[in-house]
Amino acid sequence: MTDAAALIAATRFGFAAEGGDLAAIGRDPRRWALAQLHRRPASLPGDLPPSSRVVAQLLEARRERKEKTGDPKAAKDEMRDLYIAEVGARLNAAIASDAPLLERLVFFWSNHFTVSALRPAVRGFVGAFEREAIRPHVTGRFADMLLAVTRHPAMCFYLDNVVSIGPNSPFGRRKDKGLNENLGRELLELHTLGVDGGYTQQDVEALARILTGWTIARLRDPNPGTFRFAPGIHEPGPKVLLGKTYPEAGVEEGEAALRDLARHPATARHIATKLARHFIADAPPQPAIERIAKVFRDSDGDLREVTAAVINDPEAWRQPFAKVRTPTELVIAAFRASGVREVPALPLVASLRTLDQPAFVAPSPAGWPDVASAWVSPESVLRRAEWCQTFAERLPNPPDPVAMAEASYGELLPAETLEAIRRAPSRRVGLALLLASPEFQRR
């Protein structure tokens, strides 16, 4: 393969060649990417607490608030510290990864199943959500990830399922409370079928009914802070979703419905489109989408095979620089290409905020946009330039930007960009130029 293939492998199926050197990709870039699919995603530092502990802590804090004991500020500070630690761990995993494709997949799926700390209550365990429900499944089955995500306390809380009550459930009848469709709707619209996936308002309500009772264990329950199915708020009776009747079966009803949704052809198409948009181009070619969707259907949503289909698609290798890097990708790529392997959490948190993509704070359940027009604006370009300049100025040991440009781009860097870097008035300015160049801003 050519230089272009190595560059595409490094930047499109990773973040950036480590130390800026494409040689690390080896002679068969496609195989370099495919081989990673047979590895397990790195597990993050073991001192990060499980979501169950964080949620239990929050429940505890809420009780103390009601009883006017405890220190609400201390609880809040603790959640902030957890958030910072999670962001640091997540980004450092990507910066230092020797299987960067898997980290890219973690970001992709975490964004697909967005839980946003725009709801401040989830701030302390949104990182745990990713570690527990996304990370283990990126090369597993889509259905398993879907189930793990939907059962997770973070999602139950974020999309309001904890307050969704079957109107005819014992509790609903007693308190005159009812359904919240939020999770049901987003599951269909965002997580599975897609907005044009052929579902109706009746289907949204049916799924919401099916999922009533999927909630979080309280302090008085066993294993507080974990998933709990609460029969007392589950809507009784059979439900009809997408023409299929699900007889009353408690928690298994929802599990069956989610497995069916995961298998639906519209889901295959929706996921294939998003993967192609993420890894190939903002407006991905239809044939590539068809090919990936077919693998999704034929493999029953085996994400290892589905991802392999993306990598094997000729469209993925046609054009370098087809996508603009998101701020997160830019920050990771800059550190990685500069040979830095460990970065303190705070500057990472701050960098992403400054660049308008704060970690785990997507603007809506739809996640961060995945097209250039959303990321390139007059203000954002200046901020990117600012960030690149600051990065280059503060890096303790800046690499030689000319050598880095040559090692990471070879012939693919336009002569004028290389010349500008070569003529830059200092090494740091040269590095800033390389990072801010139209080529490094893309992948």
């Binding site: 500057p347 905020r353 400054t354 370009v381 200046l382 100025e393 303790p396 300015v429 801010a436």
Partner: protein
């Protein structure tokens, strides 16, 4: 979520660097009260523009469009050399005998690559050897006693000049720096043909009312802390830090913006603007040092000089010899030092020739100001220039 704060972006890589302010405990008893400030002028300052040799008989002819006409606007020095009006803020120090210049300085190397030349300027060597420590750190080793951190990098990351086995402190201002106009204009060229980034950058600049300054012929003169103005707050901070009785004694600072390929100018222009920012910074440094100014030597060097003749874009290109500035209450100033090779015969028919190896100036300062002995200077600080004699008489001993 809290709104983004640019302050948080500070201090990217914390390893071993003090990030904001200075822990007092870092400094114990002082082994010396002498202060040394080294300023790196990155981008190759035009010595012939900063301290023009108006008395050289071939000056006007060789410099062409960039020559000062007679004494017009320049400030007098020794009758042969004059001071660029941009440096007005330090003219009084010349008159007070606290400022001198060494013209036609260079190092043992000949390269017109900024990166290589800056590395060599900072490592103090004449050849690229992959040296990973700087001459100032090696000099620090000779005066260091105990745990107190005598050296400090002011402005951001520790430059190669001050890197090495002796631990140093660092300080940077609590502000997220806006893009330097110099950087933006370089970037503008890279984005010129990019359908996405090009227009976005132009619109962004327009929105910030920057575009005229950046793209205009006169270069940038922004608000405080911007472009040439960015140096003053750093220099002032360095002065305050060094003035503290238990503070550091040796500081490294840097200033960019000297790569004047375009619109360099004479009385006005990019060079004069940059010199003005530089001089106002030096003045602020001196004032912030207070009584400690008496104990201080400031030395400013650049990686190389610029072509004698003007290029096609009213600027100058990479050249050879430049000028070294030495200033301070401890300096025997008010005069020019070193030799003048003249503009008759040029290096490769284009550049001012080197008359003085800048390291002999540095050696003289290290010996007479910090009391570092000749053997240490030859063996450790400048190991590949043992034959180079220290320039004497720069400092009041």
């Amino acid at each position: 979520m809290q709104s983004p704060t640019r302050r948080d972006v500070l201090g990217f890589v914390a390893g071993g660097l003090a990030l904001a302010g200075l822990p007092r405990a870092v400094f114990a008893a002082a082994p010396t009260d002498r202060r040394l400030v080294v300023v790196l002028l990155r981008g190759a300052m035009d010595g012939l523009g900063a301290v023009p040799p108006l008395g050289d008989r071939r000056y006007a002819e060789r410099r062409g469009g960039l020559a000062f006409a007679g004494n017009d606007g320049c400030l007098p020095l020794d009758g042969f050399f004059a001071l660029n009006p941009g440096l007005e803020a330090i003219h009084s120090y010349w008159k007070a005998g606290e400022l001198l210049f060494v013209p036609a300085t260079g190092n043992g190397y000949r390269t017109r690559s900024h990166f290589d030349a800056q590395d060599l300027m900072e490592s103090g060597l004449a050849r690229k050897t992959g040296q990973s420590d700087g001459w100032l750190n090696r000099a620090l080793a000779a005066v260091q006693h105990g745990d107190r951190r005598l050296g400090i990098a002011v402005g951001g990351a520790v430059p190669l000049l001050l890197r090495g086995k002796i631990a140093v402190a660092s300080w940077e201002p609590p502000a997220f720096k806006p893009v330097a106009p110099e950087f933006i204009s370089l970037l503008g060229r890279l984005y010129a043909h990019d359908a996405l980034f090009g227009p976005a950058l132009a619109d962004g600049l327009r929105a910030q009312h920057l575009s005229d300054e950046v793209l205009g012929e006169e270069g940038a003169k922004g608000p405080m802390g911007f472009g040439p103005r960015a140096f003053k707050p750093l220099a002032e901070a360095a002065g305050k830090l060094l003035a503290a009785p238990d503070g550091p004694r040796i500081a490294a600072l840097e200033m960019g913006g000297w790569d004047t390929h375009v619109a360099q100018g004479t009385l006005k222009g990019r060079l004069a603007n940059n010199l003005q920012g530089f001089a106002e910074g030096l003045q602020a440094l001196a004032q912030a040092l207070g009584p400690a100014w008496k104990e201080t030597v400031v030395v400013a060097t650049t990686e190389f000089g610029r072509t004698v003749a003007m290029n096609g874009t009213n600027g100058t290109d990479h050249g050879t010899a430049s000028v070294v500035l030495v200033m301070g209450g401890a300096v025997r100033g008010g005069k020019m030092r070193g030799d003048w090779p003249g503009l008759d015969r040029l290096e490769e028919d284009r550049d001012l020739r080197v008359a003085t190896d800048a390291r002999s100036v540095l050696k003289g300062i290290l010996r007479d100001h910090l009391g570092i002995d000749g053997t240490t200077l030859d063996r450790h600080v400048f190991p590949d220039a043992p034959g180079l004699a220290p320039m004497g008489g720069l400092v009041k001993v």
